[in-house]
Amino acid sequence: MISVRGVRKSFGSATVLDGIDLEVHRGEVVSILGSSGSGKSTLVRCINGLEKLDGGRITVDDFDVSHPKQLAEARKRSATVFQLFNLYPHMTAVQNVTLAPIQVLKQSRTQAESAARALLDSVGLGARADAYPAQLSGGQRQRVGICRALAMKPSYLLLDEITSALDPEMTAEVLSILARLAKTGTTMVFVTHEIEFARTISSRIVFLDKGQLVVDLPTGQFFAPDGGMSKPRIAQFLSKMRKD
């Protein structure tokens, strides 16, 4: 379980996360919605230990991300896919995927490589496994990014707007992979602006507004007129997103 308790985070005088409580259990797909600047990325960066908390506590399977020793354990249990891919440009797709399994999980090179090739194959990149990121399209790069995360066999997958740098066709490529992962029971924390897609794969939807968690509801209730939609802020957000 990922547990977020009373988390606060400020940058200078700006409070970006203002007392967030959230639990993500195994098998759940939790989508985080919210307008730009509401603190979604910051929340993900707090969960994976890239930002120091100013208050509250985050644990991943009971490992506290604020303790350096426990952070290492927490990081073995969750894996992040980034908006801008963040691949290592000097490494081929396979090398990108195998770096952490070899260095962190201490897998043998042969073992890690055959697993990586199988993963790349499963997302349609079998033939591009030895290409460098610069030789791949955006959608292909993001698929490598997903494989890199999956290769760690994480209990939790953190995805921060992983399609927002992609055109619609590439977005569809990447989303279809996520839909498949959701079906196989992969636990995901999914920050997105793809509302309709979130609706199809999420078990719960969380709405962030100005650093506060406004609602946390099962997907059906979130979109129900007497559920999340009854909140003006959310109705307004959804109608704006649908227009775009």
Binding site: L50, A79, Y88, H90, A134, M152
Partner: protein, 224 residues
């Protein structure tokens, strides 16, 4: 006694010896400078308190004062202060190594900083230690980035070695001086000496360019 002013074949051996001394000093101080400067940059990468500030300050001192003054300080100043004996070669090695280290430190720091934060963050999130990130993500890219400025620096440091002739190291420039005094043909002597430095510098530049090509040829990320 008549002054023997014509060139002899022995003068070629002298020139070769001088060039050998210059090259040996250049290579030794380059290796030491590379090692020390890189260590300094790694200390800075780990943000070791106090030491990092000290190194930055010390590197600034070395970069912003004349090498000749540093050489005099080491050769005349250190023995006077610490009551030790320092040979001209030792003084030359210490001074040139320190000077090269300071500039390599600057190149290494900017090479490390040229690597995008996002890649480093993703490697950290996947659980790589700072050292593993340095070794597998930063170093390979930083080396490719640094090789150009490094070649430029080394070409320059080769010329700087000529300063050590003033404290009596018999390098190529000192040999030039000796030949000049004997033959009284400064134009020929200094043209030949200058030509030897020139050819050596060109070889260094060529080697650097080749290395850069090789480092980048087996990766297709040079477009990035």
């Amino acid at each position: 006694m008549m002054r023997y002013t014509s060139f002899t074949s022995y003068d070629f051996i002298l020139l070769a010896q001088g060039l050998g001394v210059s090259l040996a000093l250049f290579l030794a101080t380059t290796l030491i400078g590379l090692f020390v400067g890189t260590m300094w940059a790694i200390i800075r990468f780990y943000r070791v308190p106090v030491l990092t500030q000290f190194i930055t300050f010390f590197a600034e001192l070395l970069k912003n004062s004349p090498v000749l003054v540093q050489l005099f300080l080491v050769f005349f100043g250190l023995p006077a202060l610490a009551k030790i004996n320092i040979t001209p070669v030792e003084a030359a090695v210490i001074t040139l190594s320190g000077n090269t280290a300071a500039f390599i430190y600057v190149i290494a720091v900017s090479a490390i900083e040229s690597i995008g934060r996002d890649q480093i963050e993703s490697a950290r999130v996947f659980g790589l230690s700072r050292w593993q990130v340095l070794r597998h993500v930063i170093a390979p890219q930083a080396v490719a980035f640094a090789i150009g400025p490094l070649t430029g620096l080394l070409v320059n440091q080769l010329q700087v070695t000529s300063l050590i002739s003033v404290i009596g190291v018999v390098d190529l420039t000192k040999i030039g001086n000796i030949l000049n005094l004997r033959t009284l043909k400064p134009f020929i002597v200094w043209t030949v000496v200058g030509g030897l430095y020139y050819v050596t510098a060109k070889l260094i530049a060529y080697g650097g360019a080749r290395l850069e090509q090789r480092l980048r040829a087996h990766t297709a990320w040079k477009g990035l």
